[in-house]
Symmetry: none
DNA sequence: GTTGACTCTGAATCGTACC
DNA sequence: TGGTACGATTCAGAGTCAA
């Protein structure tokens, strides 16, 4: 490879025709990333092994066994070995990342402190640590510690002086009751129909992440058409959400079983309509909303059409928690006011969704959502 | 100081009359901790400086001067210096901590990852990371990041194999609407009357922590009478809360202004009444009762037939205090496990006896027996 | 169809006293 | 120091099945 070619790669911005786009590369993530062009992805989401150090088996109070994460890929000989592994993949990731790209890494207290320190050492600039608060975490069965009810995500830019990274501030704010999106996010763990199962009904991957979590990550820090790399692809949540949200993905995974499951999963994903994907450009967002949590918890889906009580007006729910009336986009209140040509509007009582042949106010969904929030909060 | 004296210090367990109890030691925290006896404090709460900008106070690993200050090198220097400082105080803290003591360290994403990794490297064993969610965090003014709405606390035991640390599980659970206390806590930041102000109305300390936060920390992981060390005492929140909750404190602080403010503050604190300080008695701490003693006192008679709650299993009480299921004989626990084909069983809650037409757990009889024991003991 | 009882499960670093 | 026995310990959500 010549120097000229290297430069060309580093300047390559148009990756829309690359063969590796929207595919899963099989193999070790460091080796795979080293084969990708430098500065070729807009964002990275990484869910590396947590290096749990478990001894013996844990029983629930009813004597049933806890299905622990004891997979070979989570075993490391020492902190030093884990650090070396972490340094290697982060270094390779940093080369692939565009200068204005950002990286997300998720972990627990077992590994996240080592990961964060190494990220700082390698020159990544930490933007936030974001807490995923689980509505339904596993209890602490022996009553020896606090219930481990969250995981930590680190969000960082490639360089300290990178100012041009993507952060969809207005979109996040509009989706959060028109106040700034906080660094603590509440989501359920991945269960039910979303959880991939094999033909025997066993979970395909022990640590599948919820799509709602990835959706907020991608909606906050990427634009439609961006390329998102996931070096620990697993069951492919990053790819599924990226495809749905109109982003490109690149997955890297070692185990064929995970690759097969992810490919099948992603093939079934239908990208959202363009209308639902547009990001807010308006700088003004004054009325109050609390809408994104309904999307987060699946109470309402992007693309859903809303109506006023008499079906005189209509709007479409977008993935970032805003509404679009076709000519105007904003919070549920703003759009409600706009379609009525009114000064103000309480979107919660104005907008209705179709259910069982009739219309129900979305306020009903907020009531349902609040129960969950109150249980997990305070 | 002679070797003899050193040994004496290391073995000193009774610190109830130490001159340094409930005082603030002035000076550098490493030097001050090195003067304290080894294994002399039950818990440590530390709120170290967050910023990685080098203050004159941080120990540089080597005193050589850097003339070419390009950003990367400067950053590396900063991290290295902060790491050295962190390692030094954590090492000194670990020496002072009792073998079954625990340590809390609070920080933000600027420093907490380095702190956590170094804690692991030094042999501390992480028990939880606990998130302080702020009800009223400072907004992100530039709209370039998520609102930084939390801080992270690391809770760790001194050693990996230390199992005897204090965790008041039942107290925490009761305080949390009778479900396990989670790892994410919601508290307001310190404002209003609680916030120390000087005569000009200015904040005495820039990062004064709320007393509610410290109260939960101390209530969860210390017992009344325990000694709590705070090597970065600041405005003395740890001391004030410790005094109020009937714990001893040791503060270390360099700046006289903070010491003065803290002393004044703590002097005004009134300790809670003894009754208000008592912890919920955990079953673990209650005196043991042998099943055979129920026979001795006539609470249950040989030949009594026992059942599980759903009458799926049965066994007979034998004169020696063992049970017989017909095919197997042994302790209430062993037979309970055997009939269920389980590895283990708590016979006290598993087995029931017939009373007034219904089934009552034999644990009820144990409770009666314990009352008798207490009466005899008192 | 609805309701309630029961079962199952999720990234888990999950004893202690006594002989 | 090791072996053995006691006996303490779970929340939310989804799925199943019977009433």
């Amino acid at each position: 490879m010549t120097a000229l070619r290297l430069v060309a790669e580093q300047n390559s911005v148009d990756v829309s025709h690359s063969a590796w786009l929207d595919t899963i590369l099989k193999g070790d993530c460091v080796a795979a990333m080293e084969k990708l062009p430098a500065h070729s992805v807009d964002a990275i989401f990484a869910d590396p092994p947590y290096n749990l150090q478990l001894e013996g088996t844990l029983h629930r109070p009813d004597q049933s066994k806890v299905d622990a994460v004891d997979d070979e890929w989570d075993q490391f000989e020492s902190f030093a070995a884990y650090d070396a592994f972490t340094r290697a993949w982060l270094l390779a990731a940093r080369r692939v990342l565009k200068p204005n790209g950002t990286i997300w890494v998720i972990g627990s207290y077992h590994n996240i402190f080592r990961v964060g320190a190494i990220m700082q050492d390698l020159g990544f600039w930490l933007l936030n640590d974001v807490i995923w608060r689980k509505t339904n975490p596993m209890p602490n069965f022996r009553g020896r510690r606090f219930q481990n009810a969250h995981e930590t995500m680190i969000w960082a830019s490639r360089d300290r002086d990178a100012k041009g990274y993507t952060f969809n501030y207005e979109s996040m704010k509009a989706a959060n009751d028109d106040v700034q999106m906080r660094s603590d996010w509440l989501f359920p763990i991945c269960t039910g129909a979303e959880r991939l199962k094999d033909e025997k009904g066993a979970k395909v991957h022990p640590t599948q992440k919820p799509e709602a979590l990835l959706a907020r990550v991608l909606l906050s820090s990427t634009k439609p058409g961006d390329v998102v790399l996931d070096p620990f692809f697993g069951s492919g949540t990053t790819g599924a959400v990226a495809k749905r949200l109109g982003r490109h993905f690149v997955g890297i995974e070692r185990e064929q079983a995970y690759i097969d499951a992810a490919q099948e999963r992603i093939a079934e994903v239908k990208p959202l309509e363009h209308l639902a994907l547009e990001l807010l450009v308006s700088k003004r967002a004054e009325p109050r909303v609390a809408f994104a949590s309904l999307l987060d918890t699946g109470l309402i889906k992007p693309g859903t059409r809303l109506f006023d009580a008499k079906r005189r007006h209509t709007a479409v729910v977008r993935a970032d928690g805003t509404l679009s009336s076709g000519t105007f986009a904003g919070s549920i209140h703003k759009v409600g006011a706009q379609v009525q040509d009114a000064e103000a509007c309480n979107g919660w009582t104005f907008w209705h969704y179709e259910r069982a042949g009739g219309l129900t106010p979305i306020d009903e969904l907020r009531r349902v959502a609040r129960v969950g929030i109150e249980r997990a909060g305070a």
